[in-house]
């Protein structure tokens, strides 16, 4: 099978290829920008709740939106879902989200207290 001729316990030696190194440098940049963006989103969320100026009718949907954006960033930048060969991972995670939405909604709303 695939691992013919490979020894899984031998330390990996050698340098990454030039191409890989260039890719990694670029990746480093992406990660840092992504991180900066996440810090920004988080701070925005906290500010919009902390400040008295912003009415909660706006702030709540706003922070939820920020949370969703941030999660997508996490999944695609930190967790590399965008890389090739992650088709199944994407399918499964989004299916999970699709199932999570009605789950949360029904546990919030359909408890018999208010009739829908």
């Amino acid at each position: 099978m695939a691992q013919h001729g490979m020894d899984p316990t031998a330390p990996l030696t050698g340098e990454p290829t030039k191409k890989t190194r260039r890719k990694l440098a670029k990746e480093m940049r992406t990660q840092l920008i992504g991180f900066g963006f996440m810090i920004f989103l988080t701070t925005m969320a906290f500010i919009s709740i902390a400040s008295d100026e912003i009415p909660s009718g706006f702030a709540i949907p706003f922070i939820l939106l920020l949370a969703c954006i941030q999660v997508v960033l996490q999944l695609y930048i930190f967790m590399h879902l965008n890389e090739r060969g992650n088709g199944w991972q994407n399918i499964m995670i989004w299916t999970a989200v699709l199932i999570a939405i009605p789950t949360v909604a029904s546990l919030m709303l359909l408890l018999g207290i208010v009739k829908y």
Binding site: L111, G112, I113, K115
Partner: protein, 334 residues
């Protein structure tokens, strides 16, 4: 073809005629709600029978026509599929389902419309392990086990539970709704005919679940009015016909009043007994006779496993006779 469609549910009813007790079966609806539900049942059944007939017909044809015959060794053609056929058996079921889904949605909303009107009667039904309490807020009446309703009147019901989940079902009058602790559910029903309708609990609620029966008693509106007035006004001095009954009342006041109310006085851990003398059954299911009453009071758990009534084996025969006399005298109608 049309004719055939109408025939199918009819055939079904003929098949079922004579099955089940009239005041119990959902197949013999006695009120508009049960009737509407029965109509839906018939409609859905008709559609299902069509489906079954079609599938069975193809099925039988296939297994007879294409069975392997002795000596046959041919290799059938390896067909991949057929687009047109696929579309047919996707679209036809969708259409059939629409015929069911639309009336169903309409009925679902109709059955959920619980609004008080001028002459509607509201009843708050509280389910307990393993008995029923019926409160009539408009009349300031609380009754146990027997739910009196006026005929031809819209009865709006609020459902509550004091311990676990129960479910209120009177098959001949209406489908069930659950009595859920912490939640108030609503439903309505109507009974055009006078009569006694069997009701039961349909949510597993513990040991006594299977015997958590009650009765819905439909009487004409005047009688109902009398019943409700008397339930509300009878106070402690129910006309005692005999002195024995007076003794019985003493026994009752010593032992029972902490749980059972009579005429507005007493606890509510057990059913209100103000009109106990008019029960057809004891504890929801036992035939109403002295022996059963006595046995139930002495050994309630033996008669009805799981019952939460305290047992009174110590009551002497004499006391018991008096007690039963007293209980017998608890009547509100004439």
């Amino acid at each position: 073809m049309r004719y055939l469609w109408r025939l199918l549910p009819l055939a079904f009813i003929l098949l079922m005629a004579g099955c089940g007790k009239q005041n119990l079966s959902a197949l013999d609806p006695q009120g508009p709600v049960a009737a509407a539900q029965f109509d839906l049942i018939k409609l859905s059944l008709t559609i299902m029978i069509i489906v079954i007939v079609v599938v069975f017909a193809i099925y039988l044809f296939v297994i007879i026509r294409f069975r392997e015959r002795p000596g046959d060794t041919h290799i059938p053609k390896q067909v991949h599929g057929n687009k047109a056929l696929e579309v047919v058996w996707t679209v036809i079921p969708i259409i059939l389902l629409l015929f069911l889904a639309v009336p169903n949605v309409m009925q679902t909303f109709t059955l959920a419309e619980v609004e008080d009107t001028e002459d509607s009667v509201r009843i708050v039904v509280t389910a307990h392990q393993f008995w029923w309490e019926f409160e009539y807020p408009e009349y300031d009446v609380v009754a146990g086990q027997d739910m009196y309703i006026p005929t031809n009147t819209r009865i709006n019901i609020e459902l509550e539970a004091s311990d676990v989940i129960h479910s209120f079902w009177v098959p001949a009058l209406a489908g069930k709704q659950d009595n859920v602790p912490g939640i108030t559910n609503e439903m309505w029903l109507e009974a055009p005919e006078e009569g006694v309708y069997q009701g039961r609990c349909t949510e597993l609620c513990g040991e006594g679940h299977w015997l958590m029966d009650f009765q819905v008693i439909a009487v004409d509106p005047d009688t109902f009015e009398t019943w409700a007035q008397n339930m509300a006004t009878t106070d402690d001095d129910v006309e005692e016909e005999t002195t024995v009954a007076v003794e019985g009342r003493e026994v009752f006041e010593q032992n029972c009043i902490s749980c059972h109310a009579v005429g507005g006085e007493g606890g509510n851990m057990g059913p209100n007994l103000t009109n106990f003398g008019e029960r057809e059954v004891v504890a929801g299911f036992l035939e109403y006779n002295d022996e059963n009453i006595a046995d139930f009071i002495r050994y309630p758990q033996e008669k009805k496993p799981g019952s939460l009534m305290q047992a009174f084996p110590q009551i002497t025969d004499e006391e018991m006779d008096a007690l039963i006399d007293y209980l017998d005298s608890l009547k509100v109608l004439d």
